[in-house]
């Protein structure tokens, strides 16, 4: 058995990162509920997580440490692909934010975030237990 943080935490660390990114995207949608012409965005969680796990964590990746660095193909794994939400009801000012939908998505994402956090936490606790030999 390989011992390391990546192996021990499994997919939960990536899921947690993605959940926190999604929290921000949804918060932005809610913030722009009254901005004319704003298009609501969201993350396709399943596809994004699958892509990240396939590309495999942080190992062997070029990291942009300066804002002037060019984004390479490998560095692009750090970015999140945002999709546009299909509006249920068109509005006069071109805004596609449906506050209720966003609020529901935010609440759901909040719960999922806490679930991912719990998983990471319990994995860390079991690592700790193994280290201490209790």
């Amino acid at each position: 058995m390989r011992i390391g943080f990546d192996a021990a935490l499994g997919p939960h660390a990536e899921a947690l990162k993605l959940r926190s990114a999604r929290t921000e995207v949804l918060a932005r949608n809610i913030a722009h509920a009254d901005t004319p012409g704003y298009l609501a965005r969201d993350i396709d969680f399943r596809a994004e997580l699958a892509r990240r796990l396939e590309e495999g964590g942080d190992a062997g990746r070029l990291r942009a440490t300066d804002r002037r660095h060019l984004a390479t193909g490998a560095a692009a794994t750090d970015t999140v692909t945002l999709k546009y939400r299909t509006p249920l009801m068109p509005s006069f000012d071109g805004n596609t934010v449906d506050t209720q939908t966003e609020q529901a998505a935010f609440a759901e994402n909040n719960l999922q975030f806490q679930a991912a956090l719990q998983f990471v936490n319990s994995r860390l606790k079991s690592l700790l237990g193994a280290i201490k030999g209790e």
Partner: protein, 142 residues
Amino acid sequence: MSLLNVFDVSGSAMAAQSVRLNTTASNIANAESIAENPQDTYRARHPVFAQALDRQIGLGGADSEASQGVQILGIVESDAPLEYRYEPDHPFANEEGFVAYPNVSVVEEMANMISASRSFELNVEVMNTARTLAERVLSMGQ
């Protein structure tokens, strides 16, 4: 960390909504204000919201596209026609006896006020949630 960007985004939205609430208050307060000259009569004011392009986060980061707050492009005055009321005894009445009142629609302003306060509340809630999540992350492994 994206959780902390939520504070920036929601904070900018709260600031924008409070400006909107301010203009609404100003409009309602001045709904009956008249001036000697119709050109100087108060006109309803409304803020124009837009997306603020935040370039500080840098290229290629996970949050480069995501952290865009609300920006107020400016406050525009409504060009709806003024409301002329027939008050021949008024000192500011014109030759035909009409007085120019502001083009403030109080009903519209009330609707605006409710919408602004709802949006504000929602953003406060989002911020509180983000704070709870960040606190839980901080206490990870304890």
